[in-house]
């Protein structure tokens, strides 16, 4: 993985340009309140995207994260109402996320079913299973200690910021410096070669799905404590936002190349645009269309850049 920050840089520049534009046109955008709101709203997207980035790096995809997100949130609430302490309830929801991730991972890694098929099935099955179980009813009447994890409302964002930094830095560092991280890249780039080099490629595939399940569980718990009731239809379209952020951040959809930093920037760019539309008085209905356009643009730019790069690399070798 040669260090190239070309992609990360272009996303960062886009963010800077957007910020500059907003600073002049809608100064209210940068109010502490709005920034904090945006951060809290996008924190779950970030956590799940960190996992999704690894799934895509190994050459797979997980479109069931939205359904997992809804189930984990509901479970956290249900556990809390059963009288569990809030941390135990949260942990239970995270374990459930890990289990659902493990089902995805096992089917993909060992049953050799394409991940798009497996996670499409679990996405629908889990979503409708939840609808049947809850009859669409939201979980309300949560115990006192549940909201804000029992913390004061103003200290909660700090906890979230700390968690975001911790997870991002940890995963980024691990992917770059740990043997396990190298195994993720090798598996995504050429699974057969990785297997022949003694890497347990199936184990790697299974693990990234489990990790994504865990991160989705954590994201769901952290999100559900922000409100006094938990919706049964949370996370609809979440997979779209998350995959978009990863792809915009420069991770190759075919696996093997990409970075965590890129994913973080992708989340920021996509997360900043939606509220900006509202501030600019553009209908929120445009948000998804704009997201789609950005993904397309990102992929086209990536393909063009890769072509150019290959030419440069070849020229260098020939010159030697």
């Amino acid at each position: 993985m040669r260090r190239r920050y070309g992609r990360e840089l272009s996303v960062a520049v886009s963010i800077a340009l957007l910020a500059l534009f907003l600073a002049f046109t809608v100064p209210g955008y940068f109010s502490a309140e709005n920034l904090s709101d945006m951060f809290l709203a996008n924190m779950p997207v970030l956590l799940i995207a960190l996992g999704m980035n690894m799934v895509i790096l190994t050459g797979q995809i997980d479109i069931s994260v939205g359904s997992l997100f809804a189930i984990c949130g509901i479970l956290a609430g249900a556990f809390a109402k059963m009288g569990m302490p809030v941390l135990v309830a949260g942990l239970g929801a995270v374990v459930a996320g890990a289990l659902m991730g493990a089902i995805n991972g096992a089917l993909v890694a060992w049953m050799r079913i394409p991940s798009i098929v497996v996670t499409l099935a679990t996405m629908v099955a889990l979503r409708d299973g939840l609808r049947w179980a809850t009859q669409g009813a939201w979980v309300s009447g949560l115990p006192d200690g549940f909201q804000w994890l029992g913390l004061a409302q103003d200290s909660y964002p700090y906890l979230m910021a700390a968690a975001a930094i911790l997870f991002t830095a940890g995963i980024s560092w691990g992917l770059m410096n740990l043997r396990a991280g190298r195994a993720v890249y090798a598996t995504g780039s050429n699974a057969e070669a990785a297997r022949l080099a003694g890497i347990d490629a199936n184990g790697v595939t299974f693990s990234v799905f489990v990790i994504t399940g865990i991160l989705t569980g954590i994201a769901a718990v952290l999100n559900s404590v922000r409100f006094n009731q938990i919706p049964a239809n949370a996370g609809l379209g979440m997979e779209m936002k998350v995959i978009a952020a990863v792809v915009v951040g420069g991770t190759a959809i075919t696996g093997g190349s990409g970075s965590t930093a890129g994913t973080v920037l992708g989340v920021i760019l996509l997360g900043a645009i939606a509220p900006a539309l509202t501030f600019l008085g553009v209908s929120a209905y445009w948000e998804r269309a704009l997201q789609g356009a950005i993904i397309l643009a990102a992929i086209v730019i990536e393909v063009l850049r890769q072509r150019g790069e290959k030419r440069v690399a070849l020229a260098r070798v020939t010159v030697e």
């Binding site: 040669r2 050429n190 070669a193 022949l196 080099a197 003694g198 093997g256 030697e320």
Partner: protein, 499 residues
Amino acid sequence: MRSEPLLEATGIHKSFAGVRALRGVSFELRSGEVHALIGENGAGKSTLIKVITGAVTPDAGTLRVEGAEVEHNNPALARSLGIAAIYQQPALFPHLTVAENIALALETGSRWRRVDWRTRNSRAKELIARAGSTIAPDRLVSTLSMPEQQIVEIARAIGADAKIVIMDEPTASLTETEVASLFQVIAGLKKAGVGIIYISHRLEEIASIADRITVLRDGESIGTCEARNVSREQLIAMMVGREVAAVFPKREVTLGPVALELRGLSSREAGIRDVSLSVRAGEILGIAGLVGSGRTQLAETVFGLTPAEHGEIVIGGQPAQIESPAAAIGQGIGYVPEDRRRNGVVLDMAIAANVTLADLRQVSSGGLIDRGEESELAGRYVTQLRVKTPGVDIEAGALSGGNQQKVALARWLAINPKVLILDEPTQGVDVGSKSEIHGIMMDLAEKGLAIVMISSELPEVLGMSDRIIVMHAGRVAGELSREEATQEKILTLALGHAA
């Protein structure tokens, strides 16, 4: 009374982004002849073929087919002139049947016409028969073996009434018997007046099939000669531009203790039965046999990819349990697989990461990779194996085939192996890199490494091995010492006859 040449290319020039691939190449093909085109990788063979098939437009020079100048050549025009090319990797549609594949190239008419399946199938059957085979027309191409796919390609060329057939490394994945049947087909084509341009790295084969040989080097035609008047050494000298003293750099090595021993190894899944053999430190054990005789499967069993059901693997005198590649690596076994692009190097990863992939432990502590140490280790092997690259942080995909093979080799040298299994180590590698790889193998043997070399190229097996095991139908058919081994003896054993 010389007839008009079938194809005549004169003074062809072609440059790609400043690199001169062809500098005034001339080439002539007569009807009813096999004209071999040889040269090292990068000599300009593929570019010349692309000019002839219209895939590439030359910067200068003329191309004539049956005396008529071809202007503005393009693939469709070339095809209508009766030029057909059969590539090393057959370009067929795997999910369509044999008959459909043949029909796609041959049938004309409206896109919306009704398909006459009976005619289509019988036509396919007839063409395949003329190509010397009996493949059923309704089989899916994905179920065909590589040689069968080549037959389909040939049938397609026959069906198109091709007058000029280009074969690019047609025997690369064929066994000796399949080569023989391909040669019969070629003889039939010759009789029908077809001119064949034949590209191959296997000089023995060329000696037996070609009428004339043209050697290309650095984009120039070095010379054309009658095949019967030229020796292998002369050809190699023409290709590399220097006399090659010994083709195989084989040296005497004092053998050490037994490094790897297999006792009655069997695996139903891998299709190998009761294989016993041993290889000593410093020894090169050649494994010969037809494709499908279980050579690669044996290597995969020893390497833990398809663990053995019965029998024992003994390493350095100790019985070893090998149930995964990781276990094999732990026991000091390295395996450079066939088909390096698919199974060997990871093309999007840097050379350094490729070199350390099989043993990251060596350059890491507590799961943490030390990048400085990694580059240094990789750098050492890059220098030792003379990989042509500006640095170890270049992606492996940017290297040439020979250099990629060296990176694949470096990965296994980096684990400090006791036993190294090489599967077709020089397949598809040009003559220069080939002898370099043979030299490296000798150096390694001298350092006390036990080498198991699987190869389909008999001269390589004879030239490099101390001992030769011949496999047939998943079993060891016989063992030959260096002194007693001949091509005939190996072939006899490989075909399942007693020596």
